[in-house]
Symmetry: C2
């Protein structure tokens, strides 16, 4: 194979955006051959913008069965990601899936199981993993500069959404329509980066979610979560769509220093000797390890969606290592599921979570949801 023949399922804002950079030739080794959307308006748009040689389908399974595609980019509403991905894997089609991986981990685990049974290349559209800022943080962690992680703290409250945003679609911010709120719709990147940059998932979570606190919606729009990691580190994650101007500040403390990412800058407070070493030898009472405030250069721009798409294409064509393996999509989703479950049970949630229990709780809320898919 010298060119990946690509089908895109779902022509909302994301699907249209992907078509844009692919049609502009910004990804090598890929050719858009087919799109599908259940809405006639989506296909009308595609007829005009995708090019005459692109086949149009109203049924995504007809696209998969058409013989026109080697790989599929899934950009549909959250709930359908796993079932569509599984159908692709059953046809040995490569999959690039928009975030979140799904709405509940049970369906995402089934997707991962299906992926494992094929040779298909499976990636998640985690286009913040290519952001030089978070790549540098991961570099500092992986190279040992930060030492052993002691604490994480992400205040990510700059996802302001007005009521008019929520009112723009009846499915929005409903359990039946989107399956979650700020955690599922705004935070997937942060929930991915939070564990990807430090190579650690929490072992348990105690979270405090509020539903329709700031807006007239069913789902969570305000969350504070506390987590414990296996090595004894702890973490806090605070998020909301209800605050202006909000904050985006990530602090990671290790036993060799501290990193803060804020305002697109990464600052590293570097200890000359590790804290445990200082503590073991220091005899002076007050006093602390010598510390240098280092402004870390961030080079390059984030290739963003097209960077992840290029990587997926290269993985298919040349076996390049994936930046965002699809199987890792379950991690961020498990964090958001755990936060909701902890709130619903008003208790700790151990990870990996009880997928069946989460599914049951979610179904209960879907039953009571104001949104009906049949509408």
């Amino acid at each position: 194979m010298s060119v990946v023949r690509l089908g895109i399922i779902g022509l909302g804002n994301m699907g249209k955006g992907h078509i844009g950079y692919i049609k502009r030739g910004e990804v090598n080794g890929v050719k858009l051959t087919a799109v599908s959307d259940s809405a006639p308006s989506g296909l009308e748009w595609a007829k005009e913008h995708a090019g005459e040689d692109v086949a149009l389908f109203s049924d995504p399974y007809e696209l998969m069965d058409s013989g026109l595609v080697d790989g599929v980019l899934i950009a549909t509403p959250h709930y359908s990601h796993p079932e569509l991905a599984i159908a692709c894997f059953e046809r040995n089609l490569h999959v690039l899936c928009e975030k979140p991986a799904g709405v509940y981990t049970k369906q995402v685990r089934e997707m991962n199981d299906a992926a494992a049974r094929t040779d298909a290349v499976f990636s998640m559209m985690y286009n913040q993993r290519t952001n030089p800022l978070y790549q540098k943080l991961k570099d500092l962690v992986d190279s040992g500069e930060l030492g052993e992680i002691r604490r994480t703290n992400w205040i990510i409250t700059n996802w302001y959404r007005s009521q008019s945003y929520y009112d723009s679609g009846t499915w929005r911010a409903t359990w039946a329509g989107e399956g979650g709120g700020v955690l599922l719709n705004q935070d997937p990147h942060q929930l991915d980066l939070w564990q990807w940059t430090i190579n650690m998932m929490p072992k348990r979570v105690r979270a405090f979610c509020y539903f329709g606190k700031h807006r007239n919606i069913e789902v969570e729009d305000d969350v504070t979560a506390f987590v414990e990691y296996e090595n004894g580190a702890t973490g806090v994650f605070v998020t909301t769509t209800g605050e202006a101007p909000g904050t985006n500040r990530l602090e990671i403390s290790g036993d060799r220093g501290k990193v803060v990412i804020e305002d697109n800058k990464l600052t590293f407070w570097r200890l000359r000797v590790s804290e445990p070493e200082f503590n073991a030898t220091y005899k002076g009472g007050f006093g602390q390890p010598e510390c240098w405030k280092c402004e870390i250069p961030i080079q390059g721009v984030n290739p963003d969606h097209k960077g992840i798409t290029q990587n997926w294409v290269n993985a298919i064509l040349h076996g390049e290592q994936l930046i965002a393996p699809g199987e890792e999509g379950i991690k961020g989703l498990m964090l958001s599921n755990a936060m909701l479950l902890s709130t619903w049970t008003d208790n700790w949630v151990e990870l990996p979570i009880d997928e069946e229990l989460y599914y049951e709780h979610l179904q209960e809320r879907i039953k009571q949801s104001t949104y009906r898919k049949e509408q």
Copy 2:
């Protein structure tokens, strides 16, 4: 009365410091007339530094009964603050008490009750209430600039203490000796300012304290607390003595903007219209209220301990309003008691806390403490 005759009980670092600025004449209307300390070395020091006209007592009650003092500054170990203050109130002596007010709220409530039965002027040594930085924050809250408070977040992890600090006294960081760790010894100012600046105490607390996590000590040295306020606001408080270089960052969000205090600077992100007003009228989907980043000037220097002492003296002599009324010492202490109790019961703690329950839990830990006062 034209001059307050002052007795100081306890000649540790704090007591000696108070003597220093009073002897240098930096507080008007006060004259040091007596000191007491149970250790002969303390009285030796006083003989040399306090002046020949200052009476020396090894028994604090003899100082109180000497007829030489109108008011008493209590600078003894935490546990004894309430019992000494109560003895002063029974003798109609004015009291200026070092922080924390005590170790458990039950004893502090008894102290407050005793104060209420007298006309004595009772103040706490909350010398950060005179810090222009926090006064300005309180000004922004009180004047309505911030609007209704939505969220508080204090990362106060720059209290680094090495093992050698803890090893410098057998009473240090023990339940029997000090009665607590970072919350009681390092954080009293922050726990006071956290509620004083915004005029709100939490209504319930869920906290996660770790005991001897970073050091070989009995008490808490790592805490994350989540709180809910009556008006629906939430808050986070993170503290430890185990991290270097640590952080001191306070963020307060209101519905008219956001304040961050860090690096001795106060920044105010000011919304031109309040968030609820914007939300009620905006129809554009994405988009948020116009916001101005304002650097707020901080004028003056913190008069610190002598500022509080001067205010207490002025209150005695001229009826000046107290900056830190003694009865308010229970608030910060209740927060730290609530955080420990939440951890010990692994559950929510409603405020005001169950004082008896806290007392019982504390006694249990004192029984198992390695430190014995008899030693």
